[in-house]
């Protein structure tokens, strides 16, 4: 867990410009193809527009969400790609008791399946609801977007980014932020003035630009503080508490015992009760 020492500016980062996303879902299919994920059994459309499948699952690492609505008498038909945000300081990695999730030096948050004990804490922790579980299996594991780590290790771009005709730009976080800022500045009327992911959850390796206000598209409002810090502020006290507690109680009992011993000794001086009592005990036991 040394993400703090990593140079996030060099991390491989997606710039997903939803103003350029046509909702073609090439990314969605490319992801299934590369990762050899099973098709979901779906019916009709599960959400607005042509949205399907109904949710991200162990078989679906990325999905285009559709928004199909009217605003001031104007149609809005918007699409955005849901996927793991590859947080700079991933909550999933921080809570994992066995360190199965790690932030790789390249950027993707990767999963070591052979470590995972299947506790699903990562699912609780992820502010974006990304990790999914193999519910159908007797000994399930967690599944999520791999950031196509195997591809980027070979110098390729992720499958979805490769398939995307328009919306995805891929590069170092530094460059992607620069590019996003350039777009915001160049065409202010086209963009809602925010880069989702720049600060969210302490910054992520996925950055979004939108036309519509973020909440209108269903982007989750999340804290800008890195999530692990929320837990760490308590956890870091552990050794201290342990020592204080142990030390305190030891002192307390030593003190109380001493008090008793003194009382006993004084009592012993003043009366003859103690030895008798001992006898009594012995007798009882026989």
């Amino acid at each position: 867990m040394s993400s703090a020492d990593m140079d996030v500016t060099k991390h491989k980062t997606f710039l997903i410009d939803t103003t350029k996303c046509t909702g073609c879902r090439g990314c969605q299919v490319a992801c299934k193809q590369w990762n050899q994920l099973k098709a979901e059994k779906t019916v009709f459309f599960s959400g607005e527009g042509y949205q399907n499948p109904p949710a991200m699952t162990e078989h679906t690492f990325t999905r285009i969400k559709f928004r199909d609505y009217e605003k001031n008498g104007q149609n809005e038909f918007a699409f955005y790609k849901e996927m793991c945000m590859h947080c700079n300081e991933p909550a999933c990695a921080s809570v994992c008791p066995v360190g199965a999730f790690v932030k790789s030096p390249e950027g993707p948050v990767i999963y070591n399946a052979s470590r995972c004990i299947g506790c699903r804490f990562c699912m609780i922790a992820c502010p974006f609801g990304i990790p999914k579980y193999e519910w159908s299996k007797a000994f399930p594991l967690v599944k999520k977007c791999t950031g196509c780590y195997s591809r980027i290790k070979e110098g390729l771009e992720p499958a979805c980014a490769t398939a995307c005709p328009t919306a995805i730009t891929y590069g170092s976080r530094e460059e992607m932020i620069k590019e996003a800022e350039r777009r915001l500045k160049n065409r202010p009327q086209r963009y809602f003035q925010a880069i989702y992911g720049k600060e969210e959850a302490g910054g992520t390796s996925i950055l979004y630009l939108t036309h519509q206000p973020l909440d209108e598209l269903g982007f989750k409002k999340v804290t800008t503080r890195p999530l692990p810090s929320y837990t760490w502020q308590a956890l870091r006290l552990v050794p201290g508490i342990f020592l204080t507690m142990g030390g305190g109680l030891s002192l307390l009992s030593w003190f109380n015992h001493r008090k008793e011993r003194i009382r006993q000794e004084e009592g012993f001086k003043n009366s003859k009760v103690q030895p008798e009592k001992k006898d009594e005990m012995k007798g009882d036991n026989q």
Binding site: V98, C116, I117, I124, Y133, I241
Partner: protein, 403 residues
């Protein structure tokens, strides 16, 4: 054959209630087999929006504070040196040991890869509250086991280990209290990561502190409940006079807890508290029934003395803490547009089996081991003569039994 027959005959002699408990345990065991054959998806109503359900919310998050009697009482008796209460310690330890063992079972059922449980000990992640909790739970279960060995040794008259255990008593109690403080509070730390998920009524940075404090008064209340019940139904001695002492401690702890909780909600949360009426009602119920009413009740001398009132107050506190743990781990985590989770039949049967198991084993232990009749002043901790032969020999023996 004969052994089985003996057991069956023995069971036949049990009270109907116990037989019913056995049935529940068997059903629960069968239900847990379903989980290992067909997986969690089939067995439970868990899904990707509800990765944690009844098993975690009750079997782990709630069961742990419910088993807190052991460390609380241990500390009260040994550290604060209120020796009078010592008769209550052993039942508390038994409950604790059973509780934690069942927590472990619950966890193993809930884990996707239970066979890799040991990974937590090998692949450390000190940033994970779950790593912390699992280490603690393992450590503490060991401590409880050691403490629990006392009645076992007594029963079989193993003097040597008994002496070692007696000698270990203080360190164990202190370890128990320290470890418990850590993991009871760390259970609260679990939910600190759920910044934008857990509702503001519960989410605040003092959650771990609250979890710990509530574990303390829950522990106390559990002891009251248990002692009253065993007196009523198992014909054990009436300890209500001792319980009165506990009832005296309770309102103080509750008051401090209340102050912390209200203070935290008032000053340490951001965003709206009153946007979800349902959650607000749950919060109110938890605080009113679980904290304020019993606190007021136990402030009155007459209530503290009245065994019926003791039971009611303790019951309310326990209800309150159960509700609190469910509020934090389940209800408060439900997002406004989410469908509601409810446990499946199989899932519930497992939990019911675990609860039944707890009661069953408790009764059985009480039946076969010296748990209630234990008044330490009556036990002979002196060394039997034949042990005086050589010191070395003594040590070997001690170790042998311990291992």
């Amino acid at each position: 054959m004969t052994a089985a027959k003996i057991i069956i005959n023995e069971i036949k002699g049990y009270h109907r209630f116990l037989q019913f408990m056995i049935a529940l345990v068997v059903i629960g065991a069968l239900a847990s087999m379903v989980r290992f054959i067909f997986g969690l998806g089939v067995t439970t109503n868990l899904n990707d929006t509800y990765p944690w359900g009844l098993w975690i919310s009750f079997d782990v998050v709630t069961a742990v504070p419910l088993a807190a009697g052991a460390f609380t009482l241990g500390a009260i008796v040994h550290c604060f040196h209120i020796k009078k209460l010592e008769p209550l310690v052993r039942p508390a330890i038994v409950t604790g040991f059973l509780g934690y063992s069942l927590v472990c079972i619950g966890l193993l059922l809930d884990l996707g890869q239970p066979q890799r449980g040991w990974h937590t000990m090998v692949y450390w992640n000190v940033h994970s509250p779950m790593f912390e909790v699992s280490m603690c739970v393992m450590a503490y279960t060991t401590v409880l086991f050691l403490e629990f060995l006392s009645p076992v040794c007594e029963k079989f008259g193993y003097h040597m280990p008994l002496r070692v255990l007696r000698w270990l008593e203080m360190p164990l109690v202190i370890a128990a209290a320290s470890i418990s403080t850590l993991h009871q509070s760390s259970l609260g730390t679990f939910f600190l990561i759920a910044v934008d998920k857990l509702h503001n009524l519960w989410y605040n940075p003092l959650l771990p502190l609250q979890f710990w404090m509530s574990a303390i008064f829950t522990g106390i209340s559990i002891i009251i409940l248990e002692a009253t019940m065993v007196h009523r139904y198992l014909g054990q001695p009436d300890e209500s006079e001792l319980l009165e002492i506990l009832a005296k401690i309770l309102p103080w702890v509750l008051a401090v807890y209340l102050a912390v909780k209200v203070g935290a909600v008032a000053f340490l949360t951001h965003g709206s508290l009153f946007d979800r009426p349902g959650l607000l009602a749950l919060f109110a119920a938890e605080v009113l029934i679980g904290v304020i009413i019993p606190m007021l009740m136990f402030m009155k001398q007459s209530n503290r003395e009245d065994s019926r009132m003791q039971l009611r107050g303790a019951g309310m506190v326990i209800f309150g803490v159960i509700l609190n743990r469910f509020n934090v781990s389940m209800f408060g985590m439900i997002q406004p547009d989410q469908v509601i989770y409810y446990p499946s039949v199989t899932e519930s049967l497992v939990t019911i089996g675990i609860i039944a198991g707890h009661i069953l084993f408790f009764v059985l232990l009480a039946k076969y081991f010296p748990i209630f009749e234990h008044h330490p002043e009556t036990v002979d901790y002196s060394m039997p003569d034949h042990f005086h032969a050589t010191e070395a020999h003594e040590h070997d023996q001690g170790k042998g039994v311990e291992a």
